[in-house]
Structures are given as C-alpha cells and as structure tokens.
C-alpha cells in the first residue's frame, strides 16, 4: 500500500503539479467551492428531514431538487480531492485523520445513495418519522467527520 502511495506521489504528472506555483492552490480552491455546494445540497435535505426548513414541501421534492447538485459537487470534489491527495500521498499514509476521512467518505457515499435516498424519495407525505431524523443525523455526522478530517490532514 505504501509503495502504491509512493508511486502516486512521484508520478511525473504529480511532480510537475507540485512544482507549479499556482496549480495546487487552484485545485484546492476548486475543492473548497465543491465543499460549499456539497454543504448546501446535503444540509437542505437533512434539515428538511429534521423538520427545520422547507416544512411546507414534501421531503421527496426537496430531495429530488437537491440530488443533481449533490452529484455535481461530488464530481467536483472527488477528482480535485484525488489530485490533492496524490500531491502528498505518503504524508497522508501516516495520518489517522486521512484514513478516518476516506472510510467515512465511502460510508457516506454508500449510505447517501442507498438508505438515505430510499427514505428521502419515498416520503411523499409531509411527516418526518423518527427513522428519517436518524438518517439525517447519521448523514450530517458522516459529512462533518469527512470535512473535519479534510481540514486536519492539511495541518503542518
């Protein structure tokens, strides 16, 4: 695994990328813009499940409207995140926060597009059950851990 990470970090493309003065900051900025979009797309649905916002709209309406933006934010965050990771792959190999982040990311993606999606799309009534609220809390906890992990692995 470490050898694979070293291979990623020292791939010719990545060596060029690290030596560029603006490429890493540019990609990191785009990654952050993706975070804003992801935050909006996730929060609006989870807050609806919790009954905090848009309570006059069915959960499914909010969920369906938010889904393309969630997917769009993933399409921005995953490739940029992969490039940022490859820049310092061997450093991350030794960071617990990185492995926690990756694990939670896989869990969040699986959870979001299976259980959460089924609950959100099925709820055509306005009622939010305790199960739906639990789904929202799990979703928020997973994404918050991923974001926090992302911040922590950037520290010196």
């Amino acid at each position: 695994m470490l050898a694979f990470f070293e291979f990623l970090e020292y791939a010719p493309l990545l060596v060029d990328m690290r030596s560029s003065a603006w490429l890493f900051p540019a990609i990191a900025s785009v990654h952050l813009l993706g975070l804003a979009m992801l935050g909006g797309a996730v929060l609006v649905v989870d807050l609806r499940l919790l009954g905090f916002v848009l309570t006059r709209q069915p959960v499914a309406v909010v969920g369906r409207a938010a889904e393309p933006w969630l997917i769009a934010s993933m399409l921005v965050m995953l490739p940029t995140g992969l490039l940022l990771f490859m820049c310092f792959a061997t450093k991350y190999y030794y960071l617990t926060a990185f492995w926690v982040k990756v694990t939670c990311l896989l869990l969040a993606l699986a959870f979001t597009f299976s259980i959460r999606r089924r609950i959100v799309m099925a709820d055509d009534a306005n009622a939010t059950t305790r199960g739906a609220k639990l789904v929202a809390v799990v979703s928020l906890a997973l994404w918050a851990t991923i974001a926090l992990g992302g911040r922590l692995i950037g520290f010196p």
């Binding site: 003065a21 900051p25 990191a28 900025s29 952050l32 813009l33 975070l35 804003a36 979009m37 992801l38 935050g39 909006g40 797309a41 996730v42 929060l43 609006v44 807050l47 905090f52 916002v53 848009l54 309570t55 006059r56 709209q57 309406v61 909010v62 409207a65 938010a66 393309p68 933006w69 918050a144 974001a147 926090l148 911040r151 922590l152 520290f155």
Partner: protein, 176 residues
C-alpha cells in the same frame, strides 16, 4: 500629501498596537486554539456558502424551481445568517491574531472589497425585486433582476472563498 501620510501612519499605528495586545499575542502563540478557530472558519463555509448557493441558484431558476422563492429565502436565510455570524466572528479572530500580516495581504484586501460588494448585492436585492416577490414567487425562472442578484451573489461568494484560500500564498507569490 502629509495628511495622507498621517492617515496611513495612524492606521499602521493602530494595527501595530492591536498586534501587541495580549489577546493578539496569545492567539498567534496558542497553536491549538488558533488551528481550532481556523477549522471553524473553513468548515462553517459549508453551512453559510452552501445555504447562500441554494438561495442564489433558486433566484437563477436553476435549483428548487418547484418551491416558491419566498419559502427558500425565508427559511434558508436564518441558517445562512447563523453561518455568516460564525464566519465573521472566527474570521475577525484570525485577523486579530496577525493584524499586520493580514492587512498587508493582497488576497485579504481584495476579499474585503468583494465582501462589501456581496453585502451591497443582498441589500439592493431585498430593497428592490424581492419587495415584489409576490408577483414572481412561483415562477420557475424568476425575473431578470432577481436572476442578476443570484448570479452576482454566486460569483462574489465563489471569489471570496477562492481569495480566502489564496491568502496562504501571499508570501509564496509576492514576498518569497
């Protein structure tokens, strides 16, 4: 000319005084507290800018089109405002930790200008086209002036996020 110099000197004098206060010194010397403030500042971005993005996309007629615009604005603005208060508070602490470096940072200065413009955009929107929201509340695509406010807002917040990220590279690009 001498008036100008005196004014600049007094701003500089104030910033020097500020950076010598015990709170400022404590903030920049306390490794973990500083990083905690920075973390709060970056992560609250997903709440504030996330909510702002949904609102602006609705104004552009690109997201949540079947939800009346007034419902989106009325119910998401409190969350955006809460996020904004955390952003400004943590951001002020980050400024306070190193007043001279931050104020000399070109990205920071540009970011402040964009922040003023973003505030102006929100103010004008609420004073003008949002006052007539009843006329276009359920329109899937709002009128041009509302779309303009949404587009300008989206562009300004994106610029502010990028400039904030770029602040770390001031030395690298300009003073290195």
């Amino acid at each position: 000319m001498s008036d100008n110099v005196a004014r600049v000197m007094s701003i500089l004098g104030f910033l020097e005084w500020l950076s010598a206060t015990s709170g400022s010194v404590a903030l920049r010397e306390s490794h973990y507290f500083f990083l905690a403030v920075l973390t709060v500042h970056v992560l609250t971005l997903s709440v504030f800018a996330g909510m702002a993005a949904i609102i602006d996309l609705r104004l552009l007629g690109l997201a949540m089109r079947q939800v009346p615009a007034s419902q989106i604005v009325a119910q998401l603005v409190p969350w955006a405002t809460g996020g904004f208060i955390v952003m400004v508070t943590s951001g002020s602490l980050l400024f306070y930790s190193a007043p001279l470096e931050r104020s000399g940072n070109l990205f920071f200065r540009t970011k402040l200008v964009l922040l003023v413009l973003a505030g102006l955009n929100v103010f004008v929107f609420h004073k003008t086209v949002y006052g007539r929201v009843a006329d276009w509340d359920i329109d899937r695509v709002p009128p041009a002036s509302a779309r303009l406010a949404g587009g300008v807002g989206l562009a300004l917040w994106a610029g502010i996020i990028v400039l904030g990220r770029m602040m770390a590279y001031q030395d690298y690009w300009f003073d290195g």
